[in-house]
Symmetry: C2
Subunit: 297 residues, 2 copies
């Protein structure tokens, strides 16, 4: 049971967590704060939160858990604002998509990292955003990655873990670097590729025809290019090195495949395609078979 939960940056993620915890009677009161009142007022009207204030100090006073749920680059700044307000028993955690930049921000804000600062990332989301899109079951059967640090208070990590488990998520621990490399490969790089492909095609003189005759495969492949440019620009800047590493690895493979196509090397091309199909089918069909709902992002 969490006495007071404070959400900084009330949107889909924080709102859905609040609804899930309230549905399980796992939280006493939920406060929210942010830079503007609109989403806070909406959250209160919808019953997602119990109280709000634009004053950060008032919002976090007496909080058991403070959830930083602002956009990625803002979250770095929020940590600095929180620094003088954190007391010994307060747990601070976050939902940002990149963890290395949060760790670096924390290291620059604090001389010694607060033992109860627990970095986390729920792999869940929706096409929609904002507190009005919040839903009780957003995290059910989805994964939350925590990246505990050597100096972390074990009890604080366990409290954050239990909070997400109550909301229905499966919680997994991972090192900060590993998290950022895995997310670069599975999420950040695909977004960069999809944005780049659509932008390259839109610059083509035949753009109208190209889009006009695009079939379902293209629509799915480029769906993530309709994601919020500001949010993804944040993520790319936050996870710069891991994305560059993933991009270089991909570009190298692409040049190899290009050479196979230029050589007309049918058997080798078929081998690449068959290997990829097998890897994807194994992982995704296996996942489906196990009854696990695939995560959305």
């Amino acid at each position: 049971m969490i006495g007071k939960l404070t959400i900084i940056g009330l949107g889909l993620m924080g709102g859905s967590l609040a609804k899930a915890l309230k549905a399980k009677s796992a939280v006493g009161e939920v406060w929210a704060t942010g830079r503007r009142s609109a989403s806070l007022e909406k959250g209160l009207a919808l019953g997602v939160i119990d109280n709000w204030t634009l004053d950060l100090a008032e919002a976090v006073a007496g909080a058991d858990i403070v959830l930083v749920a602002t956009p990625t680059l803002v979250a770095e700044q929020v940590l600095a604002g929180l620094a003088p307000l954190i007391d010994e028993r307060m747990i601070v955690t976050d939902v940002a998509s990149v963890k290395g930049n949060m760790l670096r921000a924390a290291e620059s804000v604090f001389d010694i990292l607060p033992p109860r600062l627990v970095l986390g990332h729920p792999i869940a989301g929706s096409e929609q955003s904002g507190v009005e899109a919040a839903k009780t079951d957003l995290f059910v059967d989805h994964r939350v990655i925590l990246t505990p640090l050597p100096g972390n208070d074990v009890e604080a990590v366990n409290t954050v873990r239990q909070m997400w488990e109550v909301a229905g998520a499966e919680v997994v621990d991972m090192a900060v670097d590993e998290h950022d490399a895995v997310l670069a490969a599975t999420s950040h790089l695909p977004h960069v590729l999809a944005y780049t492909l659509v932008d390259a095609l839109a610059a083509n003189g035949r753009a109208a025809d190209i889009f006009r005759f695009a079939a379902g495969g293209f629509r799915d492949f480029t769906r993530i290019a309709s994601s919020d440019p500001t949010m993804w620009h944040d993520i790319v800047l936050a996870n710069q090195q891991a994305i560059l590493d993933g991009l270089d690895n991909f570009a190298g493979h692409l040049q190899t495949v290009r050479q196979l196509i230029a050589d007309g090397d049918g058997p080798a091309i078929k081998q690449v395609f068959a290997r990829a199909k097998q890897a994807r089918d194994e992982h995704f069909l296996g996942q489906y078979k196990a009854g696990r709902k695939p995560s959305s992002d």
Copy 2:
């Protein structure tokens, strides 16, 4: 009204066309032929066709329209087999995903291209394949691209156009090269990119984690990497040059974006992402608004 339609290579495409034409009473009898009897027997049992034979000459004798619906590379060979069997009134058309290689195959088979050889490509399909997946409405609200040649008999082109229109499709004319460039950009290149990304990640030591934490964006982005490797290897070989051109154009754009990320040039990154989102949303949301069902592939 088509008296006799003969389908060479009975699968999803030919089967669906047969069902659609029968539903509109627009065909007298449908014959099919192929290399093996299994799908032909199935098509007869399902009432999709009226008769079948493994003998090509018997199959096409007296046909008004012969539809070549085999895999892309096989279709080239089928043209050679058809050459001595074509009479002056017979229309031959196809459904292959690449048109340049079909034209080159026809040019090598025939001294003078038959005026009633009409190349075409329905932009439709399904996750499923085979005659058992055939459905009457597969082509409804989908596009069929015809690539008429200068020497084509206008009446033959119009007959093929009407056949697809009766099946519910919107028929559009395009030059052979343009068709292959547009399809390379919207379909063939995305398949190569998706196969390459999944294969690159599967080769990574962290492959298990990478796939385990893949979210919905990755699943959609790589869905086409679960496509049939043999069919796509055919297409890549058939449309080699246009795919190489598209790939080089994309790789150039990717290197530009890579540099923006390496430079940490936030505004320029956001500009690329925003431009891509706008282009995609305009074309796809516009398409939805107009009430057009998006094509699947």
